[in-house]
Symmetry: C2
Subunit: 383 residues, 2 copies
């Protein structure tokens, strides 16, 4: 039996345990807050510290990209970490991410780096307004993003940004990006095995509410777009000699896909694969890091995923809608927190839209502010 | 969160935990050998004895029908046991089972009860040869079944059976059944909620090897047969005021279905539902006993289940066949033991047959003696 240690003990580790158990994989997780190894679905069971976790594991992986660098180094030294610490770090630093996109020649928004006032001014010269400034490393307290629409606001934006940079503990920086007037957001989740085998899922259409993913829909897609996304996936993962699942978020502008960001891990926009694909992303990630043959990523039928944010229950009647599957994460209720998701499938897009609407009608507007409108629009598009 | 206690800590409890965790159900199991409550997927974690398990649970159910009667009584007294002890016992005593079939007017093979020599002789008079004699309660050491094909063997069969009865500790008995020259074996898995709602899965075709289920195939079925089976399910479960999943094994003789036996629980011939149905049998059982709306039992696509018996690994290449999902039970290797199963799906029956054949070609003949022939025949039937 292969023993897998996941860095991070949240819902992604939990779903890896659920997918790995039938494969006879023993999945444990390192909780980065308590510094204990735990069982993801029953975190009250502890299995020692990181060193013991590394020693006991055959393979180590991560469920998030903001793992402390010394933890990554300790894992990498064991020779068991997949993907590499390099790849994981890229997901946590927009400067590295942009450098990767450039070296792999993946189309993305026009951008430049800002570390001081001179570079800030240069960015405004080089890029057209509006510009979005994002901290290179994770922000804090909701800080770390600034939008500049009007040149007259530049001074105020810079002052705030300068203070943010001055207060940063790490070698923080800013990436300035020309904002893209995109038609929609899509993402590609795919998987690569050590031997170079690659399998990608169908492109997923994503809808965000207040910056958090609220709905993802997977349905048969435009082949040209799918091919375009697949080429980017191949280029990026080969450049990284990547092993495991990786997600790429794109802006679609006309018929072109621009990479928005990449996540070196299983991804929220791939949760639909639990019901909608031949093999789910969690199982495929485990297969890849355990060096097992990849599973088919084919779409079984149109499937949508609805995030449950800040709510710890939904009306039982939702379960009465055909092909609804609930996925709760067993987390304490907190505003803005991802508490679970709902997957729903159907034989065709119109039926899927109807089921989405039926679900939306049972869920409270407060917790799912844009779901009803999304479902109505999605249904209208199928007619 | 609903807390569920399963009587029995084998693979069915394990798969209930895997299906229940995303629903935020806390599934524990009572191990009838150690008399401890454990976590099914990590049985090293113990949670006290039966009394504590009952006190901690919101709902209690069983994964097998041979639960000690005092255990059932203790659970039933708590008011939390679903299905009832009555229904569970029927699965463990062929006399009660036959009585139920008669009172629900469910067609089954001609039969009578045998407790002594006079009744044995009467059975041979009443039923035509060949006759199969089955112990009413579970046999032991593989004993408990006798076939009588030729009247001249009657004396020898009776002597053996008389010794078996004399040695039995419980109030053992024998059911004599006229053997049915059936065309095939099929089963119906269905679920009933407290309020009387019923949902049944499509009929599944089963193939046994040496008395153990080896392959089940679910594909679109003859509507008249499905209706016939559904009527039997309704009659039996209403008679029992049943709550949960129940499986009925049938002999198909021409266009008629004769009940062979019933299992008051999730059933091996329903494992294909994990990949092939809208909602799997484990989730639907949990929904029913927790009084949640039943999930759709619709077939998503043709799916087969292959039991892994006595083997603790299979070639990794099996995973490379599209839509193959492995389900290992994490049990110690032992000849004749159910160690896991493989589910495989396809868009149509011909593709399913091809995938079955591809799997059979990768598995050892010793462990899967009839699988290859079954796959070849099944493929031939699709042409």
């Amino acid at each position: 039996m292969n023993k897998v240690l996941v860095l991070g003990a949240g819902q992604l580790a939990r779903m890896m345990e659920l997918a790995g158990t039938p494969l006879n994989l023993d999945v444990k997780a390192f909780d980065v807050r308590s510094h204990k190894v735990v069982q993801p679905i029953s975190p009250e069971h502890e299995y020692g510290d990181l060193a013991q976790g590394i020693a006991n594991a055959d393979v180590i992986t991560a469920e998030f990209e903001h793992v402390a660098h010394d933890t990554l180094a300790e894992c990498e030294q064991s020779g068991k970490l997949f993907p590499s610490s390099n790849a994981i770090k890229i997901g946590g630093d927009r400067r590295l991410e942009k450098a990767l996109l450039e070296s792999a020649q993946a189309a993305n928004a026009k951008h430049c780096f800002v570390n001081n006032k001179a570079e800030f001014d240069a960015a405004i010269e080089k890029l057209s307004l509006p510009i979005i400034f994002k901290s290179a490393l994770e922000g804090y307290d909701g800080k770390g993003q600034w939008r500049l629409k009007d040149k007259s606001d530049a001074e105020a934006v810079w002052l705030d940004m300068a203070q943010f940079l001055a207060e940063a503990k790490e070698t923080q920086g800013i990436v300035a990006e020309q904002m893209v007037p995109f038609d929609r957001e899509v993402s590609l989740v795919g998987v690569r095995r050590k031997n170079g085998d690659i399998a990608v899922y169908p492109l997923t259409e994503n809808h965000h509410t207040q910056g958090i993913l609220s709905v993802s829909v997977a349905a048969p897609v435009n082949e040209a777009l799918q091919k375009q996304a697949g080429k980017v996936f191949k280029a990026l993962t080969e450049e990284l000699n990547y092993v495991g699942v990786l997600a790429i978020e794109f802006f679609q502008v006309g018929e072109q896909l621009l990479v928005n960001e990449i996540a070196p891990r299983v991804h929220n926009s791939g949760h639909w694969t639990q019901q909608g694909a031949d093999t789910c992303q969690f199982e495929n990630h485990l297969r890849a890091i355990c060096d097992l043959p990849l599973g088919s990523t084919a779409l079984v039928r149109p499937t949508a995923m609805i995030n449950i944010i800040g709510e710890d229950s939904v009306a039982n009647d939702v379960l009465a809608i055909p092909s609804v599957t609930m996925h709760w994460y067993n987390k304490g209720k907190r505003a803005g927190r991802k508490m679970g998701h709902i997957n729903v499938s159907a034989d065709n897009k119109q039926e899927l839209a109807q089921r989405l609407l039926a679900i939306a009608e049972l869920l409270p507007k407060a917790g799912f502010p844009e779901l009803h409108d999304f479902a109505v629009e999605y249904l209208a598009k199928q007619k």
